[in-house]
Symmetry: D2
Subunit: 255 residues, 4 copies
């Protein structure tokens, strides 16, 4: 067959398995989302609809891929944890990275009109993704702590910055200057004393990010032990850094 | 800062550069498109609108990434050639694979209604992607020959198969049985003698696939030598296996 | 400088770090040692001097590389465990593999005359090496169990095989035939009933392989807590599969 | 079998093939040879016996591995070119790197007494190795040019430096100071005017390094075309940067 004389080119596709029995952390980020949020008029400091759309897309990815046991989202990024025993696509890195990034993107575009009914997409948004393998549970806990600490730091800054601009009448340059060198407690103080904003009462979605995980269906707990329990995906905006989150879910990292 | 005690987790992100000075071939394929085409009622053996949508998405990707010098599409797959000197994203494999797959997917979903105005997407389609590095021009020529030979073999089979079913009244099982063990010339003969179809007069898009490449704007050829010539992306359905295609474009693989 | 116009070729040296915080298992094997043992007249089923030479070379490698915490040898192979926190050569795989293989080889050739004073090397022996990263302690325990179980299976077979040949007067073909399909207990029985050999009383070096590990110097245990304790490398031929070995050394895999 | 329950640990051995149809450049370097040359009293600026030993070891490696078509040595390093079509060890990187480094080391130690009959090895020398894949002939030419240019620069510096010390009575600190900021022509001038040394008349081995390549046996050229011609390995100290070397050997990089 004519084909066979060329098919040697397949030999250049090198194997790219992720090390067995490591957790795979898949993270994606919006590509050039600074421009994207400007063009599409996202609200500052947080656009509720945009975050809901991210959560929706992430939930769809989790529904399609049962080996994802936990996800965390903030701003235009989302992290997904695949259980360490997963054999998804034989653990081929490019296959997993590309397929998950593609499905998330597809959901983001498809569900966009639900969250922005009056604002059609001006151009196609895109995301980049990567997989990071982690050997131990400790790394996974620290990974999610890293992201949630980042959410906190960014959100406190942004909340204060945009209060100075939107309510305080500062220019963005002035607001940056006001915040230069300030500590966390200074920003809390600015928010409260100047704008009567108690930071800790802001929407937990903004302060804590979005956590998606599977829970067993309540009715299912009574069902036969033999049947694999049905699960549903729940969305939380709670602390993921302290021990409580993990102690309450002792099987989360078990597989 | 709270963040810094966790940021060591970034050290697990290993470098993944593609070998310098090799051509990068990026190919993507529809994920579970057998089901997707069924659910969305694609016409057999070829759905013209669906192929046009693929071409549109591919063209958008090429417009965004000037280092893509050539692309080839058939069915639910598309191959993109990045010039060997590209330093896109510092040649990081995951970054390139995920970003290009994401942008293509985004275009596919965003432009879907243009080609299927009466058929809304029932669920989010996705694609998987991979990069294959090729050291030499010969490999690139053979790669595209491999894909176009594949197009030919598949299309001849499918054209004959669906003629037997749609016009010949065979079941799909009967049609498969009819074609078992047949050679290329047998299928031509079946098409012509039973259905008055001259295979070589079928739409070249189906027989040859879609080729996208950059051409200099005609008016631009007169412009100052110093200015980098403006280019436009053209769509062809011609032979890419024989020497002519390559001889006519001596600079295509030059960089 | 003339040099600089060519130095771009360094860019083709791609990074090859081993995933952080994983144990590195470095194993080397004799290259074509079947022929090597024939040419150099190794005794069957085990050549004591050759095993001592392997142990000597391995000990020298451990002395040079303090991050090796454990080693196991049998026949013409040796495995070395680098602690998971090692930053030896920035965890570059080729650098570690090549350097350790080279040093072992160098010792093997240099110390050869000590163990084979009347048998000069007929040609240069060589070894191949590889690094396997393991995420968890369980994998390390199972790795060493895998090697020691292999030692047992091979040694029981070889002990019986060579008894049949050397004492029983069988040809090698006959001895293979005798052993085909036999179980472990059958081999014990053959050894005992035909040759009065109690397998369990054979030299533990043959049955258990060689284990090298660091122990604190006894006198050092009284020394100041602040000083890093001096250690010496000890050679054992004990069971490494059961829990005892590991329970007695709770810090062995700690770093 | 006891073994099988542990043998899953083999799954952590990841594939590491070098990209097909690329040249593989294997380079090894002496490990901590500054100390090694001091302890073993190597002559400065060049020790003829040590270079001959390197050449001997390299020649032995080439004899064992017919897919090595060219080698270049200087000081304590050697580079070996494997032909691009080689399928040695299925192109597995660790296997090739470790085996070649091991064999070279083995030869170095084994043949040491031939070159240093009165100076036994004080401790085992070792080497590190790496493989760099190159896509094109141009890269290979530039690679060897890079090494030979390096040889020239180092040797000119060292020749002048040691003349200042050994014949000029400078301390090493003074000699370094004398040479700081000098150009090539300044060093030639120092050598000639102060020490009557015409640099270009120094032994070509020092100035050009050592080149090993295969040549057909002269008598063999008349032999049957069908027989694969017998070759021998020749040692040259000629220019490898200019075109002549390559033009005279048009088939050197052909496979």
């Amino acid at each position: 067959m004519a084909n066979s004389k060329y098919s040697y080119v397949k030999n250049f596709e090198l194997p790219d398995p992720v090390l067995p029995d490591t957790f795979m952390l898949f993270r994606l980020d919006g590509h050039s989302f600074h421009r994207f949020t400007d063009v599409h008029g996202f609200e500052k400091p947080n656009d509720f609809r945009a975050l809901e759309l991210m959560d929706h897309a992430a939930r769809s990815v989790m529904e399609e891929y049962p080996d994802i046991v936990l996800a965390f989202g903030e701003s235009d990024e989302y992290s997904f944890l695949l259980k360490r025993s997963t054999s998804l696509y034989n653990r081929r890195e490019s296959k997993i990275v590309s397929t998950l990034t593609s499905l998330f993107t597809s959901c983001y575009v498809l569900y966009w009109p639900k969250y922005f009914p009056n604002k059609p997409l001006q151009y196609p948004p895109s995301f980049d993704g990567r997989i990071v393998p982690y050997p131990a549970e400790k790394h996974i806990r620290d990974y999610f702590a890293w992201r949630q600490a980042d959410t906190h730091v960014n959100n406190l800054y942004n909340a204060t910055f945009w209060a100075l601009v939107q309510q305080g009448g500062q220019t963005t340059a002035e607001a940056h200057a006001t915040l230069r060198g300030t500590f966390s407690k200074d920003k809390h103080e600015i928010l409260y004393s100047r704008f009567k904003i108690n930071y800790n009462q802001l929407d937990a979605r903004y302060r804590k990010g979005s956590i998606l995980l599977r829970e067993e269906e309540p009715e299912n707990k009574k069902a036969s032990k033999k049947a694999k329990p049905a699960t549903r995906i729940v969305l939380l905006h709670c602390d993921i850094i302290k021990d409580d989150f993990w102690n309450e879910r002792p099987t989360l990292l078990a597989d």
